[in-house]
């Protein structure tokens, strides 16, 4: 057992799967000798030169060729350097990767994991800070995972790689090196589609995922409320059951995410709460999210992020009734 950061945990999961399964292939820009711009693939090319491939600089080229590889028996793990560059390949993701299982009536699985760092808060450049998960939630046929801790990152990534369906694996850039925790050396998996109750509580339910979850935890700790904190971990499919069971108990809910507000994950979660436990609610659910704007540059990004101040405001609001 060693203390690892999220980026080291990602590396450990990739290394584990490369060693275990000869059909695992990594591809992307600068992921080979350079080890990736965040070093997520550091050292892997040295050990697996034929299966850790530096590609030409074309996100659409990476994802479209990866699709062909996946259909032909390769468990391919392409990296897109920043999630803001996911939209060149989007036609392939939407029309082929997410849809080929349906289009071939189950003949072909597309077992690929698209890894990409997402989110604001590291003073990066324009279009290097997006949270685009809602774009993928309507891309039916995909799964999508967003870890918030090193332990989860390793277990979820191994599960994603072994999953027969295509998975978008969003890595929280802001947390890449922000926290360390004990991560077992040996392999383990965390099932996709299952949320994690980070902390039990009785006053209210806080639902979040990825980097925003850390802000939510900090915000809760500054109040005296007994909050049940749920880390979604998988945003497609959403673990509705865990959320509903919690809201039935607490009657109050705050959802926190970095992505824009309208039609974001929070909107869907509130819709499910309304459908399944509306009469258990003691106050209207709140959402603390990014705005329906472009992510601002570094000087203003902390206003955009669902910071502790904004989260506490919503916690107080749901508790006021």
């Amino acid at each position: 057992m060693a203390k690892l950061t999220i980026v080291q945990a990602v590396n450990a999961a990739l290394r584990n799967e490369l060693a275990k399964d000869k059909s695992v292939v990594l591809m992307g820009e600068d992921i080979g000798v350079n080890g990736g711009v965040f070093r997520a693939t550091d050292g892997l090319h040295a050990d697996y030169p034929d299966r850790v491939l530096d590609t030409p600089l074309s996100e659409a080229g990476i994802i479209s060729t990866a699709f062909g590889m996946a259909v032909n028996g390769i468990k391919v793990i392409p990296e897109i350097q920043f999630s803001g560059f996911m939209y060149g390949p989007m036609e392939h993701i939407y029309a082929h990767i997410a849809r080929t299982r349906t289009r071939s009536r189950g003949r072909f699985n597309v077992p690929m994991v698209i890894r990409t760092p997402y989110g604001a808060g590291i003073r990066a450049l324009d279009l290097h800070c997006e949270s685009g998960e809602a774009i993928f939630t309507q891309t039916t046929g995909l799964k999508m995972v967003i870890p918030s801790s090193p332990y989860d990152a390793k277990g979820l990534l191994i599960s994603a790689i072994r999953d027969p369906d295509p998975v978008i694996f969003y890595e929280p850039m802001r947390l890449y090196r922000a926290l360390k925790e004990e991560v077992p050396d040996e392999e383990y998996t965390i099932p996709l589609g299952e949320a994690n109750v980070v902390q039990e509580g009785s006053d209210l339910t806080v639902v979040s995922y990825g980097a925003a979850l850390r802000d939510a935890i900090k915000a809760v700790s500054q109040t005296g409320y007994s909050a049940e904190i749920i880390d979604l971990r998988t945003v497609i499919p959403i673990d509705t059951e865990t959320i509903i069971n919690s809201v039935k108990k607490t009657g109050r809910c705050v959802i926190v995410h970095e992505a824009p507000k309208s039609c974001g994950l929070a909107a869907e979660i509130i819709a499910r709460i309304n459908e399944k436990c509306f009469f258990n609610l003691k106050s209207p659910p709140e959402r603390v999210t990014g705005f329906d704007t472009a992510v601002p540059f570094a000087k203003l990004e902390n206003y955009y992020l669902p910071n502790e101040k904004r989260i506490i405001k919503s916690l107080n609001k749901v508790m006021a009734q």
């Binding site: 059909s23 292939v25 034929d50 299966r51 491939l53 590609t55 030409p56 074309s58 659409a60 080229g61 479209s64 060729t65 990866a66 699709f67 062909g68 590889m69 996946a70 259909v71 032909n72 028996g73 390769i74 060149g88 036609e91 392939h92 029309a95 082929h96 080929t100 299982r101 349906t102 289009r103 071939s104 009536r105 189950g106 003949r107 072909f108 699985n109 039916t140 046929g141 799964k143 999953d163 027969p164 369906d165 589609g193 499919p237 959403i238 509705t240 059951e241």
Partner: protein, 353 residues
């Protein structure tokens, strides 16, 4: 200061058989009489299928139908060069290539009637479902080929695109990645002169599509797409090179789309009927028949037999197609994920209620 020519290029054009069915024996690919007969039978079957599909659409018996009439040599000749383990990636106008690989006729009629059961590629055929967004399939060919190279299974991948498809970034990605990774990929551009109404000259200022290969450091050739021997020869050589580890090839099959873009289109709006007639005179099936008759491989009686056998097969497919039961609404949910998610289970229950 130095100013000099550092590279010059050439592009080959290949025709083995002229419109009268005369061949240049020195260019003739190695094919037995049986193989040539099989190619002819397949082309006749494809044409019969295509004509029937058009008629059925006009009679309201199937939905929007995409014809490939006139492109049989381009598709049958290229698909014929593949081995069973090889991959083929069709697009919506690749019906003849699909039939050559054994795709059931009935399933194509099902597909064009809005029945998704027609889209399942039979387990014994290495082929993707036909691509609908123009051009996206080309880099998939490269990826399939890259996988075969990594696995070392000796298979190659071949896919079709059109002249319109060469305008997409995907065409660039396909050739660029294929070149860099030396993947055993063959991209066939069926240059049929039209992308719906836009003429080939308005897709690219390049004199040929074949020459685009040179920018990627890979071989490119233009062939007479209505000459099945030229198509077969160019494809077979590309397949052999790919299998031998020598990398990808771009082949431009120079041909013509005689039908409308689809049964929803009216090509009279943008091209002359004289032009269509000129190309009908270069018909690929007529050309091969003339060759076979001259060679004594085929006579009128045998020809009639081939035509009536094709009609029989097509009629049988139509008969079966019209007897197919309605699909089950549960099918909508069944294939989205390897295992149905709780959300989908709930939505399926809603539908059943």
């Amino acid at each position: 200061m130095v100013k000099k020519v550092i590279k010059t290029f050439e592009i080959e054009y290949l025709q083995v058989m002229d419109t009268e069915g005369k061949v240049d024996e020195s260019l003739m690919p190695k094919l037995s009489d049986e193989q040539i007969t099989e190619m002819y039978e397949t082309m006749v079957l494809c044409r019969t299928f295509d004509d029937k599909g058009f008629n059925m659409q006009r009679q309201g018996r199937i939905g929007t139908f995409i014809q490939f009439k006139g492109q049989e040599a381009s598709q049958v000749g290229s698909a014929y060069a593949l081995e069973e383990k090889d991959w083929m990636v069709p697009m919506y106008r690749s019906g003849a290539a699909m039939i050559t690989r054994g795709f059931p006729l009935i399933m194509l009629y099902q597909y064009f009637s809005g029945d998704e059961r027609g889209m399942k590629v039979p387990d014994n055929i290495n082929m993707l479902p036909m691509a609908i967004p123009v051009g996206t399939q080309s880099p998939h060919v490269t990826g399939l080929a890259m996988a075969s190279k990594i696995k070392g299974d000796g298979a190659v991948a071949l896919g079709y695109t059109g002249d319109g498809g060469t305008s997409k970034g995907d065409f660039h990605d396909a050739l660029n990645f294929a070149g860099v990774f030396k993947s055993p990929a063959i991209i066939i551009c069926e240059n049929n002169q039209f992308a719906i109404s836009v003429h080939r000259k308005d897709q690219t200022h390049s004199e040929t599509i074949a020459q685009k290969a040179l920018a990627y450091g890979i071989p490119g050739i233009q062939v007479d797409g209505n000459d099945i021997f030229a198509v077969y020869k160019a494809t077979k050589e590309a397949v052999d090179r790919a299998r031998a580890g020598e990398g990808p090839t771009l082949i431009e099959n120079y041909t013509y789309r005689r039908p409308d873009h689809s049964t929803s289109d009216d090509a009279k709006k943008y091209r002359s009927e004289e032009e269509v007639k000129e190309w009908a005179a270069k018909d690929p099936i007529d050309r091969l028949r003339k060759y076979m008759m001259n060679k004594g491989i085929l006579d009128d009686a045998k020809n009639e037999e081939i035509i009536s056998k094709a009609k029989e097969k097509v009629e049988k497919a139509v008969e079966e197609y019209e007897k197919v039961s309605e699909p089950d609404p549960e099918d909508i949910f069944k294939y989205t994920y390897a295992e149905m998610t709780p959300n989908l289970k709930e939505q399926l229950e809603d539908l059943k209620d």
